[in-house]
C-alpha cells in the first residue's frame, strides 16, 4: 500500500493541474495572454528532468562504489547500473518534452503574438533553450557511449564516470550560464526582452504550478521504477541465457568427448 500512495497522489495532482490549469480564470499579461497556461506544463519538465538525472547520478556513484576492487559486489553493481540507465532514459524523455513544449510556447508568445518581432520561428536561440539542447546532446552521447561497449563491466564503469561528469556540466548549463546572458526567459540577465518577471508571478499561478510540478516528478519516478524493473529483468534474462548456453556447451563438450 505504501508504494501506491505516491502514485495515486501523483495522478491526482496531475489531474488537478490539467483540469484546473486549463479551465481556471487567471490574470492575463498583454503578450502572453492565454499562452501563459503553458507554464504549468513546461516548467515542471525541467524540474523533473533535474530530479531524474540526480537519481541517475546517485545510482552511478553507488555503482562505482559497488565495483570497488577491495570488496566487489557484481550483482549489486549490475543493479545500480540498471538504475542509472533507466533514470537517464526517463530524464532525457522529460528533456525532449521540455524542449517541445517550449517550442510550442515560443511559437505562440514570441512569434505570433509579438508585433514586428525578429522571431517568428519555433526555435529562437535563447540562451536557456540552447543550454537545454546541449544537455540533450550530452545525454544522447551518454547512450552512444553505452552502446559502444560490448563488455558489460567496462561499459558500466565508463558510463558511470561519464554520467557523473555530465551531471557536473548540467548544473552550470541550467543554473549559471543562462543567468549571465540576456535572453527571453524570466531567469535571464537584464530586463530587456523578458515578458514577465519571475518574482511577480501571481499566487493563482503558483497554486497550480507547484502541485503540478510535484505531480510530474512523482509520475517521472513511477515511470523510472517501471523502467528500472524491466531493465533488471532484461539483465537477469541475459545472465540466465548466458548460463544456459554455458551449460549447453559443457553438455556438448561432454557428449563429444569419447568416454
Amino acid at each position: 500500500m505504501g508504494k501506491w500512495i505516491y502514485k495515486i497522489m501523483g495522478v491526482l495532482l496531475l489531474l488537478y493541474g490539467l483540469i484546473y490549469g486549463l479551465t481556471a480564470s487567471l490574470p492575463e499579461l498583454p503578450l502572453l495572454q492565454q499562452s501563459s497556461r503553458s507554464v504549468f506544463y513546461h516548467v515542471p519538465m525541467w524540474f523533473s528532468m533535474v530530479v531524474l538525472m540526480g537519481i541517475s547520478v546517485v545510482y552511478s556513484i553507488r555503482h562505482l562504489r559497488a565495483i570497488d576492487p577491495d570488496s566487489p559486489k557484481p550483482a549489486l553493481a549490475r543493479r545500480y547500473d540498471a538504475g542509472a540507465v533507466s533514470a537517464a532514459q526517463v530524464g532525457i524523455m522529460f528533456n525532449a518534452l521540455g524542449l517541445l513544449t517550449g517550442m510550442v510556447w515560443s511559437r505562440v508568445s514570441w512569434g505570433e503574438n509579438t508585433p514586428s518581432s525578429a522571431f517568428s520561428a519555433w526555435w529562437v536561440w535563447d540562451p536557456i533553450q540552447v543550454c537545454a539542447l546541449i544537455a540533450f546532446l550530452i545525454y544522447l552521447a551518454y547512450f552512444l557511449l553505452r552502446s559502444s561497449f560490448t563488455d558489460g563491466e567496462t561499459k558500466g564503469r565508463v558510463a558511470a564516470v561519464y554520467n557523473i561528469f555530465a551531471f557536473a556540466t548540467l548544473i552550470p548549463l541550467f543554473f549559471i550560464i543562462p543567468k549571465m546572458l540576456p535572453g527571453l526567459h524570466p531567469t535571464a540577465e537584464g530586463e530587456g526582452n523578458v515578458i514577465f518577471d519571475k518574482s511577480k508571478m501571481s499566487n493563482e499561478y503558483r497554486m497550480i504550478l507547484y502541485p503540478t510540478m510535484v505531480g510530474f516528478i512523482m509520475l517521472g519516478i513511477w515511470v523510472f521504477e517501471l523502467m528500472f524493473r524491466t531493465q533488471r529483468l532484461r539483465y537477469r534474462a541475459e545472465s540466465i541465457s548466458a548460463d544456459l548456453s554455458y551449460e549447453n556447451s559443457i553438455e556438448q563438450f561432454s557428449t563429444q568427448t569419447p568416454s
Partner: protein, 218 residues
C-alpha cells in the same frame, strides 16, 4: 606527488621531442585551418565572425591536442606507466601538458589569424589571456573524455561526440567575452569569463582527477 608530476611532465616533453612529427602535424593542421577560414574574409571583414571562427579553431585544435594524450599512446606504454605512477598524477600531468601545448598553439593561431584577417585589436594581451584561459579550460575538460573514448571501440567518433556538448558552455562564455573585446575593446565580460571558466576548470578538473583511476583500471 610534485616530483612525480614533474617527472611525468618531463616524460611528456621528451616523448614530444621524440615524435616531432606529431607536433608539426598539429601546427600544420591549425595553420591550414586558419588559412582556409581567413580566405573567407577576403573582400569583407567582420569582427564578430572572426571571433566565433577563432574559437572554433581553438575547439578543433583542442580536440586534436587532447586526443593525442590517450588515444595515440600505445596500450603497452600505458600499462607500464600504471606500474610506475599514481593515476592522479598521470591525468594531472596530461592536463598541464595539453594546456601548455594548446596555449602555445592557440596564441600562434591568434597571431596568424589576426594578421591574415587584418584584425585591429586594441587589447591583444587581454585576448591572449582569454586564449590561455580557454586552453586551460578546454584541455582539462577534454582529457577525461579522451580517456573514456580510449576504452571504447569507435574511438575518434566517440571523442568528438563526447567532447562537443561538454565544452559548449565554456565556449559560449569565452565567445561572449572575446566578442566584446574585439568589437568595443571593453573588458566588461572578462571578469565573468575568468570566474566561469576557472570555476568550471577547477570543478571538472577535480572530478576528472577523482574519477580517472576508475577509468584506467583494467
Amino acid at each position: 606527488m610534485i616530483r612525480e608530476l614533474y617527472s611525468l611532465l618531463l616524460k611528456e616533453f621528451w616523448m614530444e621531442w621524440k615524435q616531432r612529427y606529431a607536433l608539426s602535424g598539429l601546427l600544420l593542421y591549425v595553420f591550414s585551418m586558419v588559412t582556409v577560414i581567413a580566405l573567407t574574409f577576403v573582400g569583407g571583414f567582420n569582427p564578430v565572425i572572426w571571433n566565433i571562427t577563432f574559437w572554433l579553431i581553438m575547439l578543433f585544435s583542442a580536440i586534436q591536442t587532447v586526443a593525442r594524450s590517450f588515444l595515440s599512446e600505445p596500450p603497452g606504454q600505458l600499462i607500464y606507466l600504471y606500474t610506475l605512477a599514481r593515476a592522479e598524477s598521470v591525468i594531472l600531468a596530461k592536463m598541464i601538458y595539453s594546456t601548455l601545448i594548446l596555449g602555445i598553439v592557440g596564441s600562434l593561431a591568434f597571431g596568424v589569424y589576426a594578421l591574415m584577417a587584418e584584425l585591429e585589436i586594441e587589447k591583444p594581451f587581454s585576448y591572449l589571456l582569454l586564449v590561455f584561459l580557454g586552453a586551460a579550460g578546454l584541455s582539462t575538460n577534454l582529457t577525461l573524455m579522451s580517456a573514456l573514448a580510449s576504452r571504447a571501440e569507435n574511438r575518434t567518433m566517440l571523442m568528438a561526440v563526447l567532447s562537443f556538448p561538454v565544452v559548449i558552455p565554456m565556449l559560449l562564455v569565452l565567445i561572449r567575452a572575446g566578442k566584446s573585446l574585439v568589437l568595443s575593446s571593453s573588458t566588461e565580460f572578462m571578469n565573468d569569463a575568468v570566474v566561469v571558466v576557472l570555476g568550471l576548470t577547477v570543478v571538472l578538473g577535480g572530478i576528472s582527477v577523482l574519477l580517472f583511476p576508475l577509468v584506467w583500471r583494467e
